[in-house]
Symmetry: C2
């Protein structure tokens, strides 16, 4: 017997010890491949991350760390795939038995990888929620509720005109779930509180970001608007705007600079609430009131749910993590 039956069947303490010694003496190490072959389990999870630049990177990394750490606790290793292989990547690792299950991120409302998952029957877990999550396991922050929370906070402080500075335009065009849900939540919140709302997508990327003060034109990508342009536009169209909700973490620094440059003090003249990891929120001056983006937790929960599913747990589920808003220095009551 290949010894290390690690509890698979009753063993006498005698042989158990005998085996232990041999395993030491021979410096024995089970061969992962052989094991996978015989047991038809690879003990590997595949994590698929986007390689696009318009999704905020630190969040992805935190998710990955969370996934790897938690997976190890269950004895699994994690294979990292980028999304440029598309649905084929999933097929590849699944049908070659390189991985036992896949974890997807950056889920679109109508994600083309979902069909592949349904067909191939791989165990899968989505970090994010598609339009139709039937028969799928998903984890995500409750973005709609998060959005609502932001508006509510601002409304309670007396703000009547609010602008939502969202993700890059491409994100909405791709119908990425979290972006759409946030927007929906914010709109609902605005309607409920009766506050005036505008939504402006905003590029987080380089060239379009901010060129106020530097020589040069604003916005390099045709039709897209960076932080500078977005902000200017907002105050031009709605001069009475006093509340800002920001989801695109990449523009936060520019935004703060631009506000100061244009003579608007935070939070005296304008309040900002961000939807981002706490780390980011705490890093600015003043620190930002924010709804936290619990990236690591998303990763760990993903693995936990996936383990349940692989154990054969019955019902598929969409687990939404309730958002929580932390008041910091960037929001204040309006006079």
């Amino acid at each position: 017997m290949s010894y290390v039956l690690s509890g698979k069947r009753p063993l006498s303490e005698a042989t158990r010890e005998r085996v232990r010694r041999s395993i030491e003496a021979l410096n024995y190490h089970p061969h992962a491949g052989a094991r996978a072959l015989a047991s038809s389990k690879s003990d590997v999870l595949a994590l698929i991350v986007p390689l696009r630049g318009d999704t905020y990177v630190p969040v992805m990394m935190e998710i990955a760390i969370g996934v790897v750490t938690k997976a190890r606790e269950f004895g699994y290793d994690v294979l990292l795939l980028t999304n440029d292989e598309g649905p084929d990547g999933i097929r590849r690792v699944a049908s070659s038995s390189r991985a036992d299950a896949v974890i997807l991120t950056d889920i679109g409302m109508e994600d083309d990888r979902i069909a592949t998952i349904r067909q191939s029957g791989v165990d899968a877990l989505l970090i994010g929620v598609p339009a139709d999550p039937a028969g799928l396991d998903c984890v995500d922050l409750d973005f709609a509720e998060a959005g609502r929370l932001c508006v509510e906070h601002l409304a309670q402080l007396g703000h009547r005109a609010i602008a939502f500075i969202g993700e890059a335009e491409g994100v909405y065009r791709r119908h990425v779930g979290f972006a759409e849900r946030t927007l929906r939540g914010i709109r609902a919140g605005a309607a409920a509180s009766g506050v005036d709302l505008v939504h402006r997508p905003c590029e987080g990327s380089s060239q379009a970001a901010g060129t106020v003060g530097a020589a040069g034109a604003v916005g390099t990508l045709a039709g897209t608007v960076g932080a500078a342009g977005t902000l200017a536009g907002i105050f031009r169209e709605r001069p009475r705007t006093t509340g800002l909700i920001v989801q695109n973490e990449a523009v936060i620094p520019s935004l703060m600079s631009l506000l100061r440059t244009s003579g608007r003090a935070v939070p005296e003249d304008v309040s900002i609430v961000a939807l981002c990891p706490d780390k980011i929120a705490e890093q600015t001056v003043p620190p930002l009131t924010s709804v936290t983006m619990p990236a690591t937790e998303l990763g760990t929960r993903a693995v936990e749910l996936l383990m349940l599913r692989m154990i054969g747990n019955g019902a598929h589920q969409v687990r939404l993590i309730p958002p929580s808003l932390t008041v910091r220095g960037s929001t204040a009551a309006i006079d």
Copy 2:
């Protein structure tokens, strides 16, 4: 024969076609485990990333993307490990043949994982350079040269008093290679140009970051200093400082804010040159003159070199990527 000998030996067009049909008909997919067992090659690379918070995350992520993308070109998959397994992680994947080689990041001058690599004889590639790279393959940005470049640029613009705002103190305590080399390069550059230099570690993390303007004390971690404290200290001790070199990308936003708050204009009163990814440098207002951190390239080069080694390429080597400085809006001549 398991058919798909993919060119391993001469085949007649006849059988080749016969095989192709069967492979289609049976929806055949080679089993990775079986293949690994028989060929004793897993076609997997292990990438080990730190999970510590004081190393800048976006850089890690970019490296990972670079590694995965390039690895796929060679038909390899990438296993993601965190460094909390330490040397054991390496041993585990190597001795179980889960991976054919490992790529290490966050290399310390005296990295304890190096001993493990030398002993176990795994093919390895370090992204970073330890004190003694003999017998090892390494890739890294030439940080010493990068540091020198920063000083030189500032010196040429006429700055005589320069401050280097470095990584968090813990990074130096751990003797992380890149941090030490940068410092060395900067010191050498300062000596060569005869400019006055001070070096100040700076926490990039949350609480210690900046509390100017917000109620509360500065610096939560005993003995460490955040952006606010660091900056204040610099101008208190050397009021004539006009040049800043920043390596800790996480503090850049706070730094810019703090400078503005304290009434110092960039680049009129103080020039800043950063050592960070272009994306970050372009995102601020004004955009930062910087020496780029070619993270993706580091990842791709790592894989390329590793492939050479696995092919059996002879000599070990340390490949240093020459740094390049891009002038943007944050540096100007001092009258």
